[in-house]
Each structure stands twice: as C-alpha cells, then as structure tokens.
Symmetry: C2
Subunit: 554 residues, 2 copies
C-alpha cells in the first residue's frame, strides 16, 4: 500500500484538472476535530490490545441524497497526524491514560486505512453505504466523527442545491447568496462549494471564488443606494465610450435626458412621474464605475415608480456609449408581478427607442427564495431569469440536518449488527459490495447489496433482489447494465487523483438526469428501491435472531 | 485613535483572564470573506470619491436574542488587511477596475473605523442596534458581510443554547454533542463555543476544548459495544485498586460474580436474566481503561434486560476496588420511563448491597433532544441528570437563520432611512444612543433609542418612551437605574481587552436571570418593549414623509 499520509502538497484549487490530494480546505480539519469519547474509545481499544483489529464502518444516507464531502475526507486522512501540541493537550484532558498510548498516537497515521467510497456527486439512497472504512479499530474510531462532520452538511447542502436547480429548471441562472446566514466563515465556504457542486452557477462569496474557482456574481445593496443624496455628489461625470472613440463629458446629464424621454414616451402613456433622485445618483455613479457590467437593485424606494425608470434612464445612456446594461435585481414585493411589469417596460422601450435586446434585460430575484417560492412563481408565471438564494439554501431550512451515521459492520472479519426497536435503525452487517442495476430505458432500477464473496451481478442475467427486512418484498431483475458503486479511494492507487469540482458537478447533474423523473419530482416522489441479495438477506436475519434477546411477556 | 489593526498577538485562548485582541479563531475569516458586490460597491464608492465618507450602520436582531460574535468581529477588523495574493485575485475577477483602486485596497486597514457595540452575551431585542460601525464608507461596506456572518449564527446558536438551558433548569448538566451535524469543521467549532456561552457545561468536540478551554465530556458509542464479541477478548484483566494498595488479578471474574449476585438479588425478585456478553465485555474493557471515569452507553442491545444489569455488575466490581462509576447514557427508547426504571434499580442495589450513593448514579439522555422534548420529559417526570444535545442545538433546527441585517443609518452626518412596504423592515435612521431602563423590582422595563444630541435618561427622572411607528403607543417611565447599551470597542481604548469566554457566559446567564420571567418563558412570552424618544420619533416620521413617494390611486 502506498502511504501518502502527511503529504503536504498544494491545497484546494480551482483548476478544472484532476489534482493530487492536498491539505484540507479548512485549517480546522485537523486530527483534534473529533469527539472526546473517540479518544476515550481509542484508549480503551489500545488498552485492550484491540487497536490493530480491522473495522469496517458504513455511513448511511438517510434519504435520497447527492453524496458530497469525499474529497475533504480523503484530504483529512492524507493529513491525519498529531502534532506535539495536540499530544500535550490530549494528555492534559486525559490524565488517566498511560504514556505509551500517547506514544502510539504520535506514531499514528492513516497509511494502514483503506477507504472505499461511492464517487462524490453521485445520487445515493438510504441503506446503501456511502463509504467503507477499513483499518485498525482505534484509528477508524478517530475518523468516525470528522468523516460524519465532513459528509453530513456537504451532502445535505449539495442535495438542497440540486433540488433548487430541479425546480428552477435548466435555463435559469442560480446564484448562491448565503454568506451572511451560514454557520460562520467556514460554514459559508462549504455552502458555496457544495451549492456549486449541486448545480448553482455562481456565488457572491469572494473567498470561495478564490479557493475553488467558482464564478463570482452579485450586485450592490440597498445601503449603496441610501448612501447617495443627489446627483451633485458625483465628482467625475465623464465616461469614455465602449470602443474608446469618444468621451461623454457629462454622463449625468445624458442620464437626465433619457429619464425625461422615458417620462414623455408615448408608448408608456406617461406612467412614470418623478423618481427618487438619490437612487438615480446611486445608479449613475455605479454605472460610471461599472459601465460594462451595470446591474441595479431597483427596490430601495419603489420598484415601478422609481427603480425601473431610473434604471432604464441609466441603461439607455450607457447604450448611447456602446455599453449594454446587464439588468436589475428585485429584492422585495410580488416578484411574479414586478418581473412581468418590468419586462413590459423593457420591451416597450426596446421598440420605442429602437434599442435591440433591451427587452431581454436580465431580471434577478432574491427575496427569501426557496424551492416552494420558486415553484409558486413558476405556477403564477414570471419573467425572472436568475434567482439569488441565500438563507433557505445554506441553512437547509426545511431540513437542517442529514441523518448520516457511521456503523461498525465487521470486526476481525466477523460481522457486527446494531439492533434497534426501530427497524429503520438496524444496521446491515458485514463487508458488502454494492451495485446499481440499470433497466432497458437506461434508468437505474434498483441498488443491491451483496456479501463480499458473492459473484457480481451480470448484464442480461436474472437476479433476485430482496427487501432487507420485509420477507414478502422481492423481485427478479434482469439488468441491462451493472455499475459497482464502492470504489477504492485510499490508499490503493499509486497517486490518488481526485476529480475537480467541475467534474464532480458534472457527475451530479448527469446522475440526476439519468434518474426516472418520478424519483426526483418534488411532490410524492416514488421511492427508489434498495435491496439485498438472497444470501445477504439470509445472513442478516440469522445474525439478528442470534443477537436479539428473546422477550418475555409477563 | 490608537490603531491596533494588523496586530498579530496570540490567538484565541481558554484562559479565564481578559485577553488582548488576537487572530480570528477561524483562519477563513480573512479580508476576502465577503460578498463580491461589496468589492464592487467599494470600487464604486472609491470611483465616486466617496470612500472617506463616514457611514454608520446598524445590524438589528430579529427577535429576542443573546448577542454573540463581537469578539470575532473585533479580531476581524484588527487583522483586516489584503495580502498581495488577495489583490491579485481581486484584480483577476474585477478586471474593469482601475489600478489605483487596488493600491487603495493595499493601504486599507481598519485603523479609521470605530465600533460601538452592546457587550457580547447581552440579551437584546428587535430594533435596538447591536452594533454601530463608523468609518470610511468603502471600508465599512467591506465589513458588512463578514460582520453579519460572524454575528448571525453566533447569536442564533447562543440564543438556542440559552433556551435549552432555560427549559432544562439550572440543576441539569447540558452537553453539546453537535460536531457530526454542524456545517463543516468550523460550523462545529462555532457551535461549541457559542453553546458554552449560552449556558452549556461541556462539549464533546476536542478541538473546541483545545481552542477555548471548554470542558470536554462524552462516552463511548454503540460501535464500541458492537466491536466486542466475548469476555475472552480482554487480554489484561488486572486492575489496581484506587488507593493503589492491592491488585485485582481478574477484574472480569469479579464482574461476573457481581452479575450473578444482581441476578439472584432478593430485592430485584429475579428481574434480570441472561445479559448480552459482548456488551458485558465492552463495559468491562472500558472500565479497565477508565476505572475513575466509567460511563456506559446502555442501549445497544436492550436497556433494562442487558445494559443496566451489565453496567451495575461492572460498577459494583469497580466499587469493590474503591472506584465510583460515573453513570449511564440512554440514547434511544422512552427516556422518561427508562430513566425512572434505571433509577429504581440503582436505589435498590444501593440498599441491597449497602453501596452509598449508588442510587445517585448520573443518568445522561441523548436521543434527538430539543427544547420541546425536554419540556415533554419534564411534564412526564423523569430521572435524567444530564442532557446530551446535538442536531437540534447546533443546526438551530426550529429556526435555522437569524434575520440580522446591517443598515446604513447616516452618511456624512446626514441621516439615511431604508423604507419598505413592510413597517417592520423600515430602518431607524441616524446615529443613536441606546439605553435600558430598569424598574423598581430590578427588571429591565424598556429599551429606548435617542438622538445622539439628546441628554441621557436619568434614574428617578420621568421620560416619555414612544413606539417607533405607532403614534398612539407611548408611556412615561421613571427608571430606577439606567444602562447605556452601546460601548466603544474599537479603537478607543489604548489596548483593547476583550472579556474571556467564561466572563461572557456569566454575563449571559446573569442577564437572563434579571429579565422578568414572562419575557423568556417558552410559550406566549410577553414582548419586551423597545421605544424611541419623542425627539427621535418626530425625526423619523418627518424623514419618512420626505423620502416616501406619494402614491396615486387610479
């Protein structure tokens, strides 16, 4: 096995090419990032001489999920090492442990650990293990908490992003605006990374742009608009035309002329009266700074009476100089109605003043949006091209946690099972292989878990798929295509190359497209079937009977 | 003004003494951690020559809240500086900006910024500004997003922790177990810090223990129990007595003897039969590693038929050697019923075998707990001493985001107002002073905001407190004690000393105790009143009339 633990090559990067395992994105992801009882257990294992046992553990996804966080897990184990400071701290909080245990920790790395995993960005279903971690039990124990930490939120928010993409449709631009509401700086960084993975197009978070190469997008805030009082506050009013051929010495006057033309335009029947002058000053000033990229927030005072005519005046003045304004952002009010009304004005002005494509101005909406509100907008009809989504996206408001857990399934080649009065919580024991079986139409039909010793399912060959717990539920399947789900990520390959963020994002989009639409529809989706082989079924149930105490009714 | 920006003294530490401003806890909290449009606005301000205007901005709390995150904000501005790499990146994503702007950014720090804030750990109410940031508008703009990021989740989770403390009561031990479900590594670190601040007693997160000196607590997991098959797996069965006077050569046999005694005990009428031997092995092994600190998870197989008798056998064997077992953890099932039944067994054994305090064994409960479930347990009656809370605590499941915002309230000494069709979203303009007025019984009565030029309220002197928007709602108040809420944190003091985490935690607990109980009760709490002075009221409303467009009904 090629031990790459402790490698310290370049960190996360935004290149689209596959890259070597670097440092974890988050400097907090060190070997101390674990629950205290994991060290207690590691000590107890060490004390009992069990630290070299090989444990196999599975974290399960609780629902239909896009699996994410694998790259960070691999980086975590590649860099897993205790510093002398870490050891000193651990000694101070665990004074009852023998010194030799700390010597053991000093020497511990993950060179003896193996990780099999479903590729990041895959669509996964409950009960199928996302990942299998094998290695000395004390070390695997120390990986449990950080792995679950690194996978849970990552998978949750990627799934949330993918759901937003699904409801918004392929043609819309989705912007992640979550930095303000995420769990601190790194919560925000993770949110930006995984929202992009789940199908978003850009983020407002500059640091995420820098770390991962995610495109950056955003516009100004209400504060920028309120910061202006009048047009006199603009010191330099000159603007060079886009082709550099001439200079407009007083852009502000040009804007004022256009505002008047709009107010008097026959086709608008005088719908626009006086507009807010501080807003007009803010827009003009912003356009002077960003003539190639003018996007205005139009709801600080009144969208239809002030924001839209002010924006159009500035946009038409820019057009005179060869620039093309980007569009507007709506951040309050009835987004369906306002976007439709704004579109009408843009189209009317396109005709009135013969400005090609003015009617296609981008309309971005951004007020507390989520799956439900986008769905409602779609039903009402709207003219929004782009959605900026923050709070509901990054906090995963509608379900703020994913029930991803890590279960011991085998120790020293002996299967282990976790029983529970709740059948859904019973773990599926032993080291398994997992396959996705595809049908004639190219859709995945069912996932099947098998014992390691069983032969793989074959295309064209009938196989019995059983429900893991309900005896009567079983079906024969003739797969057209078979895909093995768990692949070795650590340390089997001579040099581990992880796919780039762009590649993982591509995988996610492609996997979602491949699913039968009723599995991913928003309302009442059909459950995707997850099964076990006949052999694994028999095995689980004999083990269960052996372990479960026989009740006594009194 | 003493410029301390760029100071690079020691980072976060766990000492109880006040400490100098160090580096931000999270290495991600760098000057790039902001929305892209903040740089766009900074450029537009710079381009318009407005970058030296003094802006005053207020982030508001959306509901009753414990204010947290101030220390991280102060550390953020103390370390606010763009590296050459940052500048290169910004140039690459904003190629349209002039070079001189980047030179301006190179020289930018927060030495010219002033921060007034309510002390961290204070109880705050909607509309009263938590913080006032003054300084060059371009710089203040760049602080908006990171400050809101650093305050929003911090205040949300501190408030959530304080609410859990309130419902659990003072006598219970509260443990934060959220690492697995937080937003990545730093989300977890923030959660641990702020849950402690809000009244929790300990965390399971080792890194948080190391960074902040928070006490560490936890027990083993189900995986530890499942990893054992039989008592034969324990290689070294010897245990020295607590006083070191003797060695028990076969602790496992001693445990077996005790298990038999329990099974035969008259007072238990033979309720205990065969127990799970792998569980017994795991408990015995854990006790050998942690004889002074034995706490067992008793629900892997069956709490009452296996976990409790196995635990008691090991605990009584430890007692023979002078040790005192800590207790049990329940992680599934009917926690009220199981805790009561477990307590009965402990008390019965205390009498049966004359083991003092055995009945007082600590019972920890930890299965998906939250405010509601703890409240329900309290109503049913239970014997739980300690609650371990994870998911619902750190994700703030019942309300995953706080609506804390940053508003421009004044520029160049001219007040600014943000209007909205929703009255609750109208900002209260201008630089303000804020006071809390206390009544005869020592409770706070009302918070009042005043214009900066007004004289402060005085104890014993009648003052009119007006609702900020509703004309008819006003009351005269004669305060017994007056507290000014906003204090200068940056850079007024020659060396800024921030209170320690312990001190902030103390402030939070004390402030919650000082509130009239009906303001913090769980169901239908009485809203706390927030008011403005008569002068500020007049001022707001005249500004509002000036700025708002007059509608036309057609």
């Amino acid at each position: 096995m090629a031990a790459v633990a402790g490698s310290a090559s370049a960190g996360a990067n935004g290149s689209a090419a596959a890259h070597r395992v670097g440092a974890p994105t988050n400097p907090m992801a060190t070997a101390l990032l674990t629950d205290q009882y994991q060290f207690s257990m590691a000590y107890a294992y060490w004390k009992a001489g069990k630290h070299a046992d090989r444990a196999v553990k599975n974290p399960f996804g609780g629902e239909f999920t896009v699996f994410a966080g694998l790259e960070e897990c691999i980086k975590f184990i590649a860099n897993f090492k205790f510093t002398e400071d870490d050891i000193l701290f651990l000694q101070s909080v665990m004074p009852m442990c023998e010194d030799a245990f700390f010597d053991y920790l000093r020497k511990t790395d993950c060179s003896d650990v193996e990780v099999y995993s479903i590729p990041e960005g895959s669509v996964v279903f409950p009960k199928v293990p996302l990942m299998r971690v094998e290695g000395p039990v004390a070390v695997v124990q120390l990986l449990e908490t950080p792995f679950v930490n690194l996978i849970n939120y990552a998978s949750l928010v990627t799934t949330n992003a993918a759901r937003h993409r699904h409801v918004a449709g392929k043609s819309k631009v989705l912007l992640e605006f979550g930095l303000r509401r995420a769990q601190g700086p790194d919560g925000a960084i993770s949110a930006s990374k995984y929202c992009f993975m789940g199908g978003f197009d850009a983020t407002s978070n500059v640091l995420a742009g820098n770390l991962f190469g995610i495109p950056l997008r955003g516009t100004h805030s209400h504060a920028y608009v309120s910061s202006y009082m009048s047009l006199d506050e603009i010191p330099d009013k000159s603007l060079k035309s886009k082709d550099g051929s001439r200079v407009c010495k007083d852009f502000v006057s040009l804007v004022k002329e256009w505002l008047q033309k709009i107010q008097l335009a026959d086709s608008l029947c005088g719908v626009f009266g006086e507009t807010n002058q501080s807003e007009l000053a803010a827009f003009a000033s912003y356009a002077l700074a960003f003539p190639t990229n003018f996007l205005a927030l139009v709801d600080t005072y009144d969208v239809m009476r002030s924001g839209i005519p002010n924006f159009c005046a500035v946009a038409l003045a820019l057009h005179d100089l060869g620039y093309k304004a980007s569009g507007i952002r709506l951040d309050s009010g009835d987004l369906a109605y306002l976007s439709i009304e704004a579109r009408k004005v843009f189209r009317t002005l396109e005709k009135e003043f013969n400005v090609p494509a003015f009617g296609k101005m981008i309309i971005t909406a951004s007020n507390d949006l989520n799956e439900e509100t986008i769905d409602a907008l779609n039903k009402q009809g709207h003219e929004v091209d782009s959605f900026g989504i923050g709070t509901y996206l990054v906090t995963c408001y509608s379900q703020a946690a994913l029930g991803c857990v890590f279960k011991l399934v085998e120790i020293n080649s002996r299967p282990r099972i976790k029983l529970s009065e709740d059948v859904a919580k019973v773990s599926i024991p032993c080291k398994k292989r997992c396959f996705r079986l595809y049908g004639k139409e190219g859709y995945p039909l069912v996932d099947i878990m098998m014992r390691e010793s069983e032969p793989s399912p074959k295309a064209g060959k009938r196989i019995l798929c059983r429900h893991p717990f309900l005896e009567s539920r079983r079906a024969y399947v003739v797969p057209q295509h078979v895909e093995e789900l768990l692949q070795c990520y650590w340390p089997d390959k001579p040099r581990v190359e992880l796919p780039s963020l762009e590649e993982i994002r591509g995988r996610c989009m492609q996997q979602l497209e491949k699913l039968r639409p009723d599995h991913i529809r928003r309302l009442n989706p059909t459950p995707y079937k997850v099964s076990v082989s006949a052999k694994l079924y028999e095995f689980i149930h004999s083990l269960w009977l052996n372990e479960a105490p026989v009740g006594e009714l009194q």
